[in-house]
């Protein structure tokens, strides 16, 4: 195995994409993900690929649509407001069943908000910020290494299901430097065939990429066909980690970098004798309900920790189905939940105390909902 390299998350993500055989990148600058297009603009031409700085995120996602429909491994990346502008295009891509990868290095919102890390785009990513019934496969990496590994997986999974895949990384994933080893990535040679792609109809019947179906019965059938696909994805592609499954009774639930903070809290509290464990969803959609089934017998309660006012907490509740109480703690807009505050909240949960909002505050913010 090769030596680890120290790399900024954004650059590592870009490099992983190239190693996964991605040769086309269409994107528009936005903090905190600029290193991705910058890296691509330098490296893609070296490997015979193409980098295009689009005029906007709306254009980016539609260029991705065109390139994906033409059979390419293609990606775009952006951050929260830019991702919002892609919602129509994303719905088209899902409707037309095109494979592609979208990276959202998300920042504080709503509106222009701030440029610090956030997880407040969870709903948009997992429920479908665009119109219509569609699903995007969403990965929430917790380290630069995991972001790279998932990036490679993302392209394969996108091709396998002909579906868009999103990497939802908070700003920290993009901005921090960590050692990384590149593994996997089948390279350009062995990419899957795409006989459905628009490459010119020489010697075969015409191919068509579209999402319009004016006949309600046809569109209904199309939607239920997509639904079947989504069911298959739910069955095959769920990823998660459970920590301290053996004896834990109280579970922290967190994804992305927040999960790492929670691990430190878990470790500390265990030393103090609390039976704390942690569930870390890696796929945010499909959401890992199985993880909750696994611990359902023993779990006395769940504390969901997010850099949002509470979004994943709904999926946790849907997974727990009332079998144990689900609590929440969060900070937003770039404020990061402090280990101390998480610990306090978890103690209150375990010891059955009502939360006192000000207890968890470091600044002027809130945190308990």
């Amino acid at each position: 195995m090769s030596q680890p390299i120290l790399m900024k998350g954004n650059e590592a993500i870009a490099e992983a994409a190239i190693r996964a055989g991605c040769r086309f990148f269409f994107g528009y600058p936005i903090t905190p993900q600029n290193e991705i297009p910058e890296y691509m603009s330098k490296k893609l031409p070296e490997v015979g690929g193409v980098f295009v700085q689009a005029e906007s995120e709306v254009a980016s996602i539609n260029m991705v649509y065109g390139a994906a429909g033409a059979g390419a491994r293609v990606m775009t990346s952006s951050s929260s407001p830019g991702i919002s502008l892609m919602m129509e295009g994303l719905s088209y891509i899902a409707g037309a069943e095109l494979p592609c990868v979208i990276v959202n290095i998300s920042r504080g919102g709503p509106g222009l908000g701030g440029i610090q890390p956030s997880q407040a785009d969870y709903f948009q990513a997992t429920k479908g910020g665009g119109h219509g019934d569609y699903k995007v496969i969403v990965y929430g990496p917790c380290s630069v290494q995991e972001a790279c590994d998932l990036m490679v997986k993302a392209f394969d999974v996108a091709d396998k299901y002909r579906n868009p895949v999103m990497i939802l990384g908070d700003g920290m994933i993009g901005q921090m430097m960590e050692p990384v080893v590149f593994r996997g990535g089948q390279g350009e040679g062995s990419l899957p065939e795409k006989p459905w792609a628009t490459t010119g109809n020489e010697g075969r019947k015409s191919n068509l990429i579209t999402s319009i179906h004016l006949d309600p019965e046809v569109l209904d059938a199309h939607n239920w066909k997509l639904c079947q696909k989504y069911k298959a994805i739910e069955e095959n592609e769920v990823m998660y980690e459970v920590y301290r499954e053996d004896d834990a009774e109280w579970f922290l639930v967190a994804y992305g970098t927040v999960a790492r903070i929670c691990i430190s809290v878990m470790d500390k509290m265990r030393k103090e004798g609390f039976k704390v464990g942690l569930i870390r969803p890696i796929t945010l959609w499909p959401f890992p309900k199985a993880a909750f089934e696994q611990v359902a017998d023993r779990a006395k309660g769940f504390l969901c920790v997010e850099m949002s006012t509470g979004q994943m907490v709904e999926d946790v509740k849907l997974a727990v189905e009332g079998r144990a109480p689900v609590y929440f703690y969060g900070r937003t807009g770039g404020a990061v939940p402090l280990p101390r505050a998480i610990e306090k909240r978890m103690r209150d949960v375990i010891e059955g105390r009502e939360p006192v909002v000000t207890d968890y505050l470091e600044g002027r913010g809130g945190g308990v909902k």
Binding site: F24, F26, V50, V52, A54, E55, S56, V58, A59, S60, N62, M63, V64, Y65, G66, A67, A68, G69, A70, G71, A72, V74, E88, G89, Y92, A96, T198, T199, G200, N201, E202, G203, S206, N207, L208, I209, T210, S211, I212
Partner: protein, 247 residues
């Protein structure tokens, strides 16, 4: 007997959904004739837009992608960058190209994207039932300019050929009309030129076609053609606005 005119091979055998006498049909035919004559049917990829021509893919026997409203130039960019050796064209209405898609068309031109754009200017939103387009004439009544377009309220008609001619990356910009057989023949020449430019790698080419919407103009097809000649051409003069690129 020898054939003088045959239905182009690149058209499928489908009855179109276009209204009787709508010149979308003529434009389709011309593009198909050009594809046939240049022998590029097997390597052409069309991009349909959102407008009455949304189903263009049903009528052309080539590969096609259906693009979101206004975004055909972006979709075409994605395709062309993947297959620089294929021929990529968009087919867009005036709502699509001049209104919602104004940024995409300007930037495809500025980027010198090596594609061909067929732009159907019928001064109205056909598919959605006759709303005002950016190209609607002053005084023209539409369902969203019920008192007639007035420049003090809705501004002036947007002349896209003139505008795009001001973009350095545009190589070829021409405006033609379809209001009689002579003009139809000229339009075909321009369309052919626009495809040839792409084959020669010259960058962005667009042919604007003054077209009719008898249904929403509430005219017979023939009256509609006369209206093009009498009312549209004075605002949208015909001709080549650009040939050659750069500063």
């Amino acid at each position: 007997m020898k054939p003088v005119y045959l239905r182009p091979k690149s058209l499928t055998h489908t009855v179109t959904h276009y209204c009787p006498g709508c010149t979308h049909g003529i434009s389709h035919r011309l593009v198909a004739e050009v594809i046939d004559e240049l022998g590029i049917q097997g390597k052409t990829i069309g991009v349909a837009s959102v407008g009455c021509s949304v189903f263009a893919y049903n009528y052309f026997d080539t590969d096609f992608q259906q693009a979101a409203h206004g975004r055909a130039p972006a979709v075409a960019t994605g395709i062309k960058r993947v297959h620089p050796d294929k021929i990529v064209f968009t087919y867009q209405g005036d709502g699509d190209l001049a209104s919602i898609g104004a940024a995409e068309i300007v930037h495809a031109a500025a980027r010198r994207e090596n594609i061909t754009v067929i732009f159907i200017n019928n001064a109205i939103y056909g598919m959605t039932g006759g709303q005002m387009a950016p190209t609607t004439l002053e005084g023209q009544v539409t369902t969203t300019s019920p008192f007639g377009r007035e420049h003090g309220v809705q501004g002036y008609p947007l002349r896209m050929s003139e505008l795009l001619a001001a973009v350095d990356g545009a190589y070829y910009i021409a405006r033609c009309s379809l209001h009689n057989p002579v003009q139809v023949a000229r339009a075909k020449k321009s369309i052919k030129q626009a495809f040839q430019n792409q084959m020669e790698g010259r960058g962005f080419s667009m042919v604007e076609l003054l077209s009719t919407c008898p249904t929403n103009w509430r005219m017979t097809p023939q009256k509609a053609l006369e209206w093009v000649e009498k009312h549209m051409i004075p605002v949208y003069p015909l001709g080549e606005f650009k040939r050659g690129e750069g500063e």
